[in-house]
């Protein structure tokens, strides 16, 4: 896990190094031009006159000390900027992932009981939809629907700033109300995949001998399904959910931009517009961290489901 982060940091540095122009150019541009001497001074100030490996080493050390550089657009340390936005993205990503897993598994189990029925058709159709519809487009359509036609959920931001009480519950439900649409949008892609996968794996398990044994023992249908079959059919779904974590984070960036959710995605969007590279690189490091933690949680869940698995 630490290795992954180290590689991301090195990769970041390499891209910065390989990209045309450096920080001195950017600053000179915003200042409206600088002469040779000023440029040399700027380069010295930012350590750009040092040899490659020393620059790389300095960069890694600085990141390890949580110094991601300075955002020249917000005029704030990148770390502070990111920490301010990070919780919102974390909330969106994990709530969407949990919701889509829950609904996906529920739907998959239901569809597997009737492999050629209407629910199976729905699962297959919906997984096609989830694959084909760009998530930001789904988001925009929902946004149009919920702002113009059914205005029950707020369509942008995370909090209502007109609320004046200090009551925690009021704020909690306010955030929840704002979370609803972004969460549904982001979950819509993944619950399609999960339900399809869960259906397939459930069908496979339902044909296994131990399910027949359970039925022959005279267990109720519910017990067979939920206690014997489901537990054994979950691991491919959970594994896939773990693999999808990076896709969920990618999707979150788009969804956040659509709903102006104040997370890393909108920050990334703004930093692209303002050419704020340090911020973008910091976000890349942080979201990689988020994905690795997500993967770790997946591994732990898998181990809890199947004690044979060793981490």
């Amino acid at each position: 896990m630490l290795l992954v982060l180290l590689v991301v940091v090195v990769l970041n540095f390499l891209m910065l190094h390989l990209a045309p122009g450096d920080i001195a150019d950017t600053i000179a541009q915003t200042m409206g031009g600088a002469d040779e001497q000023d440029m040399a001074e700027l380069r010295q100030q930012y350590g750009l006159d040092q040899p490659f490996f020393i620059q790389l080493f300095n960069y890694v050390v600085r990141v390890a000390l949580l110094d991601f550089g300075h955002s020249h657009f917000y005029n704030l340390p990148v770390f502070d900027l990111i920490m301010e936005r990070f919780p919102a993205t974390l909330l969106l990503v994990f709530s969407a992932q949990i919701l889509s897993l829950f609904v996906g598994i529920l739907l998959g189990v239901y569809a597997a009981q009737n492999p050629n029925g209407l629910s199976s058709l729905f699962v297959n159709m919906f997984s096609l939809f989830g694959y084909a519809a760009p998530v930001f487009w789904t988001g925009i359509l929902l946004l149009i629907a919920f702002s113009l036609h059914i205005p029950i959920f707020p369509v942008s931001g995370m909090r209502d700033i007109t609320i004046e009480t200090d009551n925690f519950l009021v704020h909690f439900f306010d955030v929840l109300r704002h979370l609803f649409l972004p969460m549904i949008t982001l979950a819509s892609i993944f619950f399609a995949y999960y339900s399809r996968l869960c259906r397939a794996s459930m069908l496979e398990v339902l044909g296994a001998d131990f399910v027949r044994t359970a039925k022959a023992k005279g267990l109720s249908k519910k017990d067979v399904l939920l206690k014997h079959a489901l537990k054994n059919s979950l691991s491919p779904v959970i594994t896939f959910a773990g693999l999808s974590f990076s896709a969920v984070v990618s999707g979150a960036i788009l969804v956040e931009t659509v709903y102006s959710w104040p997370g890393l995605g909108t920050l990334a969007f703004n930093s692209i517009i303002s050419r704020d590279t340090p911020v973008l690189l910091g976000i890349l490091i942080f979201s990689t961290l988020m994905v690795t933690v997500g993967n770790l949680l997946t591994d732990l869940t898998l181990k809890a489901l199947d004690p044979r698995i060793k981490i």
Partner: protein, 290 residues
């Protein structure tokens, strides 16, 4: 004469069977027809509908159907129908070439990892794992933001971040196939490693790789649209994502500016996925029952 036919038959039959299975499936054929239709629209459509997608031709936000513009005009008064026709070319071209790039990288890495095993496999699969953990969209955003948003850099960025699945599939196929007898036979008749990898094992591993690559084309099209939506698109060419991205601010005033290009992406990717499913059924007869 008769004997000759009997010998010839088994070598022809598999390919024929693949085509037969593919064309028997209604959904696969529908997907293929739609896809070809969209490609034709993108490449020769501008000849029949010569309005320049960048030209301001009418008042901004003229609704669909009004004033002779079938799909209306965007925030600058540009013809959306023309943007969709011309955008097809870029979206499809980027989709296919990005999938090709990731196919190259993925097959290269996966085949070497699966064939050589040992520390080669260990290292290469570590790299693959790393690319699976990396939030692909963000990484591509960084590449495009740093190296400039040209069609080439966007294509390479998408290709460079989405090859992990191909590499994994290629590796697992190689692990399975390299133990089979015909590989041993080929090795004992003097084939070197390169010949074994690319001429003996790879053709036999092709089926799942082709299916995965087909799915990658669709993913790359949505990926490009996502980048364009965030403002990272080549300003000199029009693509569907770019149309959505540039009209994003005005969606509540003119919903159709966003709806139509979205439908175009949706239909295209849907068609690709239908073709991919059809290919899967045709190439993996074992999975057909699923």
């Amino acid at each position: 004469m008769l004997e000759n036919e009997e010998i010839e038959e088994p070598t022809i039959k598999p390919v024929k069977e693949i085509f037969q299975t593919f064309f028997k499936s209604y959904s696969a054929v529908t997907g293929l027809v739609i896809l070809i239709g969209i490609a034709v629209m993108g490449f020769i459509g501008p000849l029949f509908y010569p309005t320049d997608p960048f030209d301001m031709v009418w008042m901004p936000f003229s609704p669909p159907g009004a004033d002779g513009f079938l799909l209306g005009t965007d925030y600058l008064g540009r013809d959306i129908l023309s943007q969709i026709i011309n955008g097809a070319r870029v979206s499809i071209a980027i989709g296919f070439s990005a999938a090709l790039v990731s196919c190259f990288i993925g097959v290269g890495i996966g085949s070497f990892a699966g064939f050589y095993g040992g520390w080669v496999e260990e290292t290469l699969m570590r790299i693959t794992e790393f690319f699976q953990v990396l939030p692909t969209l963000l990484f591509a955003m960084v590449i495009v933001a740093l190296f400039g948003s040209s069609v080439l850099s966007i294509t390479l960025a998408i290709g460079a971040v989405s090859w992990a699945s191909v590499a994994r599939i290629t590796r697992s196929e190689f692990l399975r196939i390299k133990e089979l007898d015909f590989v041993l036979a080929s090795r004992s008749s003097g084939s070197n490693n390169m010949a074994l990898i690319f001429r003996v094992i790879l053709p036999n591993a092709a089926a799942p790789i082709i299916v995965q690559s087909a799915l990658l084309v669709g993913a790359a099209i949505t990926f490009e649209a996502g980048l364009a939506f965030l403002g990272l698109s080549d300003p000199n060419v029009i693509s569907w994502g770019q149309v959505i991205g540039s009209n994003r601010v005005y969606i509540l005033d003119a919903t159709y500016t966003v709806t139509f290009p979205g439908i175009a992406i949706f239909i295209t990717v849907l068609a690709i996925s239908l073709v991919g499913d059809g290919l899967n059924d045709a190439l993996n007869p074992k999975l057909r029952s699923r």
